[in-house]
């Protein structure tokens, strides 16, 4: 890539919970078109860093700058699935449409444009046939793909994925990797993925960030 545009620039970033700092004075840049994999052992701060990028966790010090006109609403986030969600009575459509709630809609219903956008995102993750299905009855891989569709609905330029293949069988994992690769190559999405899968990281990523090697 001849010209690399900075999309996100972290400077002296410190993140943590309560009095505990997990990421300390960290400097990093993410460029347009990156397929960045973040690896490292448990508890080293990968997920915390991603939560910081997603805007879920406010920096305790330092800052995260969005550059090149990147806006929060153009960043999609796929958090790790929670115990609550596994047993949640909701249809796939309801979950995917909930991605639009950031746009401060107060309407008790969703317009046609939003529904079409949701259907597009479902198609991109090959879950369009599950639109009316009950989320808690889906397989692990299907659940992840639905949540990825939801992230896509809220995103145009960047995806933040937190362990998207953890707990999936090899086939579902491969499926997931293929979809992400497609999004990266065809939709020109910038991908930031936290993962334990070092092998896949080496195969797909254009950049690697190893949190074990960061001096904390």
């Amino acid at each position: 890539m001849s010209e690399t545009k900075n999309l996100i620039k972290c400077s002296q970033l410190t993140l943590g919970y309560g009095s505990k700092n997990i990421v300390n004075s960290f400097n990093y840049e993410i460029n347009a078109g990156d397929y960045l994999c973040i690896i490292g052992r448990n508890g080293c701060g990968k997920t915390t860093f991603l939560r910081g990028l997603a805007g879920v966790l406010r920096p305790k010090a330092g800052k995260i700058e969005l550059r090149d006109n990147l806006q929060r609403k153009q960043i999609g986030y796929l958090p790790q699935i929670t115990v609550t969600q596994k047993d949640f009575p909701a249809s796939v459509e309801e979950i995917v449409l909930s991605a639009f709630q950031g746009k401060s809609l107060l309407l008790p219903f969703y317009g046609r444009a939003l529904r079409e956008r949701a259907n597009e995102c479902l198609a991109l993750t090959r879950t369009e046939n599950l639109r009316k299905a009950c989320f808690r009855e889906l397989s692990g891989g299907q659940k992840q793909r639905v949540l990825l569709a939801r992230a896509l609905c809220a995103a145009e330029r960047m995806l933040l994925l937190d362990e998207p293949v953890t707990g999936l069988d090899p086939e579902s994992s491969q499926n997931m990797y293929n979809i992400i690769k497609e999004l990266h190559e065809q939709k020109k999405m910038t991908i930031v993925m936290v993962t334990h899968d070092v092998e896949a990281s080496a195969k797909y990523a254009t950049r690697l960030l190893n949190f074990n090697e960061i001096e904390q």
Binding site: G55, I75, Q85, P89, S91, R136, A154
Partner: protein, 280 residues
């Protein structure tokens, strides 16, 4: 039996009880789903005890309308418990246990020491188990209950999708720019209002049953958030109505009769889903 029912319906307080009971059960069921899914069921229980303590304080202060004391105190505690969050010194279930048992004790103590009414046992019995309270509402209570119920209903309809988004995935909602803290605050306030309202219907100790049972029943059978919410509302209203009617016809305490209805419906839903799963 129908004659008897029509005879009872002639009395205005019976009609008030039915109207207010329907509205309260409708409100309480709506957020039940959120409460169950967010693992907040026990907070509802704790808050009802707080409301009982507040009621005792109101009785001691001899205010004209108890609600003006109970509502602010319960809302304040709800906000502290639900929104105090990660920085709180005493965490989660311990805080709830502390607050709920504490206010129960203080409430009973105050009622015993200061109660103006001769029938302390009756007062305690009716506020804890809702034996009769819905049938002994004063006209001002009726208006207040109706008004609060309507406010809760409108708020819920208006913010239905936001509440869903936050219930399903708080982190994601935050990432997409939903003001999660604001809506958590709103949910806490609505829950407190519902608890105070529901205390009139089933009494402090049984409030969480009224909130949780319809939601759990609906979750067994229905598969989308929307259908679960509607079903919970229908179940709650039907159970409360039949509960009130059975209670006045058979002379049983209102609160526990309603909860008994809720339990029956839950069992039916549980068995239905079990059979369906076996077939599938």
């Amino acid at each position: 039996m129908l004659d008897q029912l029509l005879f009872y319906l002639d009395f205005p307080f019976v009609r008030y009880a039915i109207i207010v009971g329907t509205l309260i059960s409708l409100c309480s069921s709506l957020l039940g789903v959120t409460l169950v899914l967010k693992r907040y069921s026990y907070i509802g229980d704790g808050l009802s005890h707080v409301a009982f303590g507040a009621l005792a304080i109101a009785a001691v202060l001899k205010v004209t309308n108890n609600m003006f004391i109970i509502l602010p105190i319960t809302v304040a505690v709800a906000v502290l418990l639900l929104c105090g969050g990660k920085d709180a010194q005493i965490k989660g279930d311990a805080a709830i246990a502390m607050v709920s048992a504490g206010s129960l004790a203080i409430g009973y103590l105050l009622m015993n020491i200061f109660s103006a009414s001769g029938n302390v046992a009756g007062d305690v019995c009716t506020t804890l188990f809702g034996s009769m309270s819905i049938l002994t509402l004063k006209p001002t209570d009726v208006y207040l209950c109706v008004a609060l119920s309507i406010v809760v209903l409108i708020t819920f309809v208006l913010f239905y999708h936001k509440i869903f988004a936050i219930t399903f995935d708080e982190n994601f909602a935050r990432a997409t720019g939903v003001n999660v803290n604001l809506f958590n605050l709103l949910i806490a306030i609505i829950i407190a209002v519902i608890i105070v309202l529901a205390m009139n219907l089933v009494g402090a100790l049984l409030v969480s049953a009224l909130v949780v049972f319809p939601a759990l029943s609906a979750m067994r059978v229905f598969k989308s958030f929307f259908t679960v919410t509607i079903a919970a509302a229908v179940i709650s209203v039907v159970c409360s109505l039949t509960g009130i009617l059975v209670a006045i016809l058979a002379g049983t305490p209102v609160g526990s009769t309603i909860v008994a209805m809720d339990i029956v419906v839950f069992l039916v839903c549980y068995i239905t889903s079990a059979i369906r799963n076996k077939k599938a």
